[in-house]
């Protein structure tokens, strides 16, 4: 359903993505793993056009675009079919939880207020934040803000939702509530592309795992295979390091 082909991206002459290709089927939950600085965020940002790839091709449910040359309207149309969940939530600080969800529906999609409010209600119910609909972001905990951000991301009925380390900014005790919401979305068949360091989520909720290192995909496969019998030396090293850190009592960053 979503094909991304040979994405290249340089920052200040430094190649951050060196020809990354990705195939996503409808209903896939793909976790992207990799050490810090390996280009995971950049990849998601290129897919959502927050960052312009130097080259690359995207095929999104029948629509093909040059990721470098895509025009303004093409980008706008593509973005309306995706959702994005940021590490730092990025809720609209001047809007209540409810308005955060309805804003895009009303302003970008021209929906009337009543329909938008109905959709927002069902989305906020799904993330367990309906009771807090009238709270402003600063009145919510990080976990609650992220759940509202997820509601906002799914409100436009996206064909795929991109998550960039959705739990990395959270206090440890708040990680669970967000992961639980993401698991339930996965169970409901949402197509998800998740950059994360949560190995349990990758193991249990994903049907595919991708390991990125140095701007390249070094291994991809089903979680059972990836975690139990990785094929590449790089993947073994990565998992070893993680295992050691986890045993040491520290979650991997």
């Amino acid at each position: 359903m979503l094909d991304v082909e040979k994405v290249h991206k340089k920052f200040d002459g430094q190649e951050v993505l060196s020809g990354v290709s990705l195939h996503v089927d409808k209903g896939d939950v793909i976790t992207i793993l990799g050490p810090s600085g390996s280009g995971k965020t950049t990849l998601l940002r290129c897919i959502s056009f927050l960052e312009r790839a130097d080259s690359g091709w995207m095929d999104f449910a029948g629509t093909g675009v040059d990721m470098h040359r895509a025009g303004k309207n093409q980008v706008l149309a593509l973005r309306r079919r995706m959702g994005f969940v940021f590490q730092s939530y990025n809720l609209f600080a001047n809007k209540t939880a409810l308005k955060n969800v309805t804003e895009g529906l009303i302003v970008a999609r021209g929906m009337n207020r009543k329909t938008a409010a109905e959709i927002a209600e069902s989305c906020l119910q799904r993330v367990g934040m309906w009771e807090k609909r009238d709270s402003y972001p600063h009145q919510l905990s990080g976990g609650q803000q992220q759940r509202v951000a997820i509601a906002r991301a799914i409100a436009g009925d996206p064909e795929v939702v991109l998550f960039d380390e959705p739990t990395s900014a959270l206090d440890p005790e708040l990680v669970g509530e967000v992961l639980q919401v993401m698991r339930s979305l996965a169970r409901d068949g949402m197509t998800m592309l998740v950059v994360t360091h949560e190995m349990r989520f990758a193991r249990q909720a994903a049907n595919k795992v991708i390991l990125i290192d140095g701007g390249r995909i070094v291994e991809e496969g089903r979680p059972q295979e990836f975690f139990v019998s990785p094929r590449t030396e790089r993947a073994r090293q990565f998992l070893d390091l993680l295992g050691r850190e986890t045993e040491g009592g520290n979650a991997a960053q």
């Binding site: 973005r79 001047n94 302003v107």
Partner: protein, 219 residues
């Protein structure tokens, strides 16, 4: 202070206050409103990085922040007629005051826009909104709240600066006081009195500012 002075102060109070209400207030309100519009446009073309226009905006801010307002008033009122552009005193004052306010306030608004985390702009994009939609509905409302106190300061500053318009024959409060002073030979009391009236105007604005700030906070 004898009775003569007391009576003079009483009579002149109304004589000065009247041009205050009829000239100083409209001059301030019109110039500040126009100035804010200019400032918003000037800030936006810079933040949005509009080619060429952005350079023009920088140039404009540079000129108006770098030269005395008094000189600008003279250039517009006494200078421009020599090249065929004749403006009456009041419009000339409005032009200078609004361009001046525009230059300073644009920097305030620009900084306020930049103080809103970029993540919210990106979240706007990812909600399907355009740059302008996100700017108008998400970024600017927050920026304006940040910019409110410094803009209030600019407004209070402008009330006082309108006294400079006396130099180009606008009969506002200060020029009126000047005339009464030279007629009555009481410069001390007259200038004190006009200063006091400016103080009343500015105090009223300060209270208005505090009240509005409280209202903004509560939202």
């Amino acid at each position: 202070m004898n009775d003569r002075i007391l009576n003079l102060l009483k009579d002149s109070f109304v004589q000065i206050l009247l041009p205050g209400l009829e000239m100083t207030v409209p001059l301030t309100v019109i110039s500040f409103s126009l100035g804010l519009l200019i400032a918003l446009g000037t800030a936006l073309v810079q933040v949005a990085n509009v080619k060429v226009v952005r350079q023009l905006a920088r140039f404009y801010v540079w000129i108006f922040r770098g030269t005395p307002m008094l000189v600008q008033l003279y250039v517009v009122f006494y200078g421009l007629p020599k090249v065929g552009l004749i403006l009456n005193a009041f419009p000339a004052a409005v032009v200078v005051f609004s361009l001046n306010t525009g230059a300073y306030a644009s920097e305030t608004i620009r900084a306020a826009i930049l103080s809103v985390p970029v993540g919210q702009m990106e979240a706007g994009y990812c909600s399907g909104m355009t740059y302008m939609q996100t700017m108008r509905r998400i970024i600017l409302p927050q920026a304006m709240r940040t910019a409110f106190p410094p803009l209030s300061n600019s407004l209070i500053g402008l009330v006082k600066d309108t006294s400079l318009a006396s130099n180009i024959t606008v009969v506002e409060m200060f020029l009126t006081a000047q005339r009464i002073a030279s007629r009555t030979y009481e410069p001390f009391w007259m200038y004190l009195e006009v200063g006091f009236i400016y103080l009343i105007f500015c105090t009223a604005l300060t209270y208005l500012q505090r009240w509005l700030e409280k209202k903004l906070e509560r939202k």
